[in-house]
Structure formats: C-alpha cells, structure tokens
C-alpha cells in the first residue's frame, strides 16, 4: 500500500468517525448502540428516532457536504488562479448573497423561508458573473481576485445602504443569517447541495490534468493544448454555483475554502486529484467538528458557524503569512 493510499484511508476513517460522532453529540444524548439501531431501522425510542432522523441526520449530512463543497471550491480556485489566498468568499459570493438576502428581507419578509435562500443564490451568482465580465473586459483573467474584492465592496456598500434605510429587524435577520448556521437545514438541502457537489466533482476529476497544467503558468498550459480562458471560466462557474448553493442554505461560512487546501498540500500533495480527495475528507470532517462546537459550547444558545470558522481562519491566515515570510 502506497503512502498516499494509507493517508487517504486514514482520512476516510476520520471523516466516517467524525460523521458518526457528530450524530451522537448534542443536547439530547444518544448512545452509539441507540444510533446504530436507529440508523438500521429498529429504533426502540420514538424520541430518539425523531432526533436522529429529523434533526441530527439532516444537519450532519448538510454539514458534511458543506465542508466538502467549500474546501473543494477553495482548492480549485487556488489552483486555477495560482493564488494561495484565493477563497470562494473573496470572489464576491458572500456579498452578492448578502445583497440578495437584504433585498428579500426588505421586499418579501413574509415568505422569507423560500425567498431568502433563493435571493441569496441569485445575488451570489450575479456577483460572480459581474466579476468574470469585468475581468474579461479588462482582458486580465489573472486579476480575478482583485476584481472580486472590488465587486465585494461594491455589493456590500449597496447592502449596507439598503439596511441603513430599511427596517432594523431586517438588519438583524440579515446579519444573523450571514454568520452562518446549520440550525435550520433540512434533508432537501442535502439533496440539492450534494447534487451540485457531485456534478462539480465529476467535472473536476475529468479535467484534473488540465487544471494541473495551469500550475506551471498559462503559457505552459496553452502549450500543452489547454484552452486556459475556457477552463478557468468553467471552473469559476462551478465553484460559484457550489458556493452560492451552500451560502443560500447555510449563510456565510468563511475561511474553510482557504484553510483546508493549505493543510492538504502539506500532508498529501499539490496536484488536483490528491488535493481534491484530501480537501473533501478534511473539509467535511472539519465542518462537522465546528458544528459540534457550535451547538455544544454554550448551554443556552448555538454559536453561529461563521464566527468559529472565521476565528480559526484569521489565525490560520496569520500563520500562512508568517510561514511565507520565513520561506
């Protein structure tokens, strides 16, 4: 068994164990035996059955695919832009989603359950489309990240202006949603996110050699027969769709896409295939444990996920800068 296979095997075990542990940990204590019997369809206690199937399982599965999705999107964005600081949230996705959510809050506050994720999704995609159009107009796809930051600020300023003029309750709702949470997710959210995730992963695996070729520069990739602009646009669209779907259901969960690929590069490798497998396994496990902390750290309330990931992420960001300086 090669070193790579051993690492992937261990990470798979970690991911499965994290999923299992996340299902047992929470305000209602569920033993391993109870969990196994409930999952195999012979649950003896009705309350436990309800907690497992209607509360924990949707939350854990959505947490798992959210972690996988954000980590994979970060991996691809960093590789196609050759920028170790690229993150799905730096391309204006969250600010676009926030603008969508703000408009939904102001206009159709009564039907917010459906309108908010839908408006957030449309806002996120609008923002990314705008980033790509501007980058193409500037004829500099390499400056995608800077364009993303500019568009981010633009969308944020519009959101803030609307919230400033609008209802204070709407402001609270949007701010709370932006902090990210898995508290209100349903099984249907898992189906939607995992469908988009599977489509994205299949396309990434199909094109893994082309994405790798970009690591040595655009000209080098072009000399190997890669249509650099088309590939970059396709990958950006995939990452945008994936992140926008996640943001629409779970709100803003920053820094997962930035941190996880860096850890995987140190442990497994830098080319697309090992990186995407490692990121998926570590990203999924990471978010499950963040959610466990979020729902069990305080007795009276849940901590929004975005607060925990941002705390980890900012420290990690400083660590990257320190290491870069030392290298």
């Amino acid at each position: 068994m090669s070193k790579f296979s051993v690492k992937i095997f261990l990470l798979t075990i970690l991911c499965l164990a994290s999923t299992f542990a996340a299902l047992t940990i929470g305000p209602a204590s569920i033993s391993t035996q109870e969990l196994i019997s409930c999952l195999t369809g012979v649950c003896q206690n009705k309350v436990t059955e309800m907690v497992v199937w209607q509360v924990r399982l949707p939350r854990v599965l959505v947490g798992l695919v959210t972690g996988i999705g954000l980590a994979c999107a970060g991996t691809i964005l960093q590789n196609i832009t050759r920028n170790p600081l690229a993150d799905p949230y730096l391309f204006g996705i969250v600010s676009g989603a926030a603008l969508g959510a703000t408009i939904a809050n102001i206009t159709v506050a009564n039907q917010l359950t459906i309108a908010l994720p839908l408006a957030a999704f449309v806002g996120a995609l609008t923002s990314v489309t705008l980033v790509v159009i501007i980058a193409k107009a500037l004829k500099s796809m390499e400056q995608l990240l800077l364009t993303g930051i500019a568009v981010s600020f633009m969308f944020s300023s519009i959101s803030q202006f609307l919230l400033y003029l609008g209802d204070p309750f709407a402001t609270n709702r949007v701010i709370f949603w932006l902090m990210g949470s898995l508290a209100r997710v349903e099984m249907s959210n898992f189906y939607v996110i995992s469908t988009i995730l599977i489509i994205a992963l299949v396309i990434i695996v199909a094109l893994h050699r082309q994405i790798d070729a970009l690591l040595l520069g655009d000209e080098s990739a072009a000399s190997l027969g890669v249509n650099v602009d088309k590939l970059r646009l396709l990958m950006l669209a995939l990452c945008a769709a994936l992140t926008a779907t996640i943001v629409a259901y779970c709100g803003g969960i920053g820094f997962v896409g930035l941190m996880v690929p860096h850890i995987v590069r140190q442990v497994i490798g830098v080319t697309t295939l090992p990186l995407i497998i490692g990121s998926a396994l570590i990203g999924g496990s990471f978010l499950l444990w963040v959610d466990v902390i979020a729902r069990s750290a305080l007795e009276s309330a849940e901590i929004p996920l975005g607060i925990i990931t941002s705390a980890f992420g900012s420290l990690f960001f400083l660590l990257i800068m320190y290491r870069t300086r030392n290298n």
Binding site: L215, L216, S223, R265
Partner: protein, 281 residues
C-alpha cells in the same frame, strides 16, 4: 524531401507596427535551428506564430503539409513541445508532477497514470540525468536542473519539434552548455531562440538571423556568423575567429567610436564605452 515545417510570407502587424515581415522559413526533420537577433527582432513572436498562440498574422504556416490552423490545440501539443525560459510554480510541485504534465496531450478525460506512463516518465528523467530527483520538489532544484525537468516533460510529450525560448537565459556557463548539449543529443527537430551567438554557433546546425521582423540571413552557422552582417544588425563592430578547441566560429563585439554601417548611419559611443569589450562568451 518536403520540410517538416514550412512558413511562407508570414506577416504580423500590431497597430501598424510590423512585428514580422514576410518570413519564409523551412525546417527539416532532425535539424537544430537557432533563431538569433537583437532584442525586439521578432524571435519570440515567430515562435508564438509557429505555436499558433498568435493568430492575427497573414501568410501560411504548414506542419507536415497541413496548415497549423487546421490542427486543434491538443493536436499541436502532440507535435510541438515547448521549453520556456523559466517556470516558477507557486505551489510545491514535485519533479514527477511537472514531468507527468507532458502526458496531457495524449490523454483523454478521466484518464489516470498507468504503469506505461510511469515507465515513460522514468525514461525521460534518465535521459536528462535526473532519475534520483523523481520525488524532489521542483522549486528546490537549481536553474539548470529545472530546465532539464522541463526538457524531460517535453520528451514525455513525444513531440516531433522541440521549441525552446531562450533556454539558457538564467543559467551560468556550465548549465548553458549542459542544457544545449542535452538538446542537441536528443536527435529531434529543434527550433530555439538564443541570445548568445557563440552558444548558438556551437550547438545549432543552422542559424536564422532576424532583425526588425525580417530574416537577414538563413544558412549554416558558419555563413550566418558573418562579421559584416552582424556589425550591421547589432550596431557594433564584430570580429570573428575559429575556436581552437571546437573549431567552431566565435564572434566578438567591441564598443568603438564612429562606426559606419552599410546604410551610412554613424554609431557614436563615448570614450568610457570604448574601453569596454563585449565578448559573446
């Protein structure tokens, strides 16, 4: 014998400025052709046209009798391998990662490395003398070793023409000779741009001298390294001698006062500059 690569009446203008002017060039199988000329002569532009990376030109470029526009980017990559001046990856790619990129033009979607691919990569690294560096980090290698890794990648690409753009630019004298000897010994068709005329003389069978987008001379090395022509193109007086060891032509350029070129232009240099002597090795 029909040429492997045949360029006819190649003309490329950007905003009214002529970059390449009526280039006619044929390259036969197995030739090692050096493209030389001063900065801005159009050397890299010519390579870009050959690789179809620059499409706004008039004239024709045929590879194996077929217009290169009729080849897909993938097909072109199966026939032309490129070794650039320098590649600096941001992430810690291994030598294996870089060399296996050469397999890309021959692979389909969803394809993974098989034992034959691994054998091919090992063979290529053996040819460039880097077998032991398979798992080393590319960024940790010396400039010369990095160039050899890129040549190994080109070998894995199994292309018929190897294109090198200033392959020795960042290298010291030892690696310059090592890289060019390696390229020459590969026994494949090579087109490369070279700044150092004496290196070009030593390792190319044929030289194409470009100036202001035009071919000034295209012949065997001995005939192209003509002091009169070089004086005019490089605007410096040129002297030539035979290298006593390799018996290859060597040229020297000197800064001097009041040089007159054939079009009666005066080249004036300062007194300080007169003391400087530029040798091309």
């Amino acid at each position: 014998m029909s040429a492997l690569l045949c360029i006819k009446q190649l003309l490329w203008k950007v905003n009214g400025k002529t970059i390449l002017n009526n280039i006619d060039l044929s390259v036969n199988k197995g030739e090692v052709v050096g493209i030389i000329g001063p900065n801005g002569a159009g050397k890299t532009s010519l390579l870009r046209c050959i690789l179809n990376q620059q499409k706004e030109f008039s004239g024709t470029i045929n590879f194996k009798g077929k217009d290169i526009n009729h080849y897909s980017a993938k097909q072109l990559a199966q026939h032309f391998a490129v070794v650039a001046q320098k590649a600096t990856p941001i992430f810690a790619l291994s030598v294996f990662d870089v060399v296996s990129m050469g397999l890309l033009p021959h692979k389909t979607l969803f394809s993974f490395n098989n034992s034959q691919d691994l054998h091919q990569i090992t063979l290529a690294l053996e040819k460039v003398g880097l077998t032991n560096e398979l798992h080393s980090q590319y960024n940790h290698l010396s400039g010369g070793e990095q160039q050899r890794v890129l040549i190994a990648r080109a070998l894995v690409q199994k292309a018929e023409i190897l294109i090198l753009d200033e392959p020795t630019n960042h290298l010291d004298v030892y690696y310059q000779h090592q890289i060019l000897k390696l390229v020459k010994d590969l026994n494949i068709t090579v087109i490369m741009t070279v700044h150092d005329l004496n290196l070009a003389a030593q390792y190319c069978q044929r030289l194409v001298l470009l100036n202001k987008g035009k071919i000034i001379a295209d012949d065997i090395t001995e005939r192209v390294l003509n002091p009169e022509i070089l004086t005019e193109v490089f605007r410096l007086p040129c002297q030539r001698e035979q290298d006593p060891i390799t018996n290859v032509a060597r040229v020297y350029f000197h800064l001097a006062n009041n040089i007159t070129t054939s079009d009666n232009k005066q080249l004036n240099t300062s007194k300080d500059e007169q003391t400087a002597v530029i040798s091309h090795e």
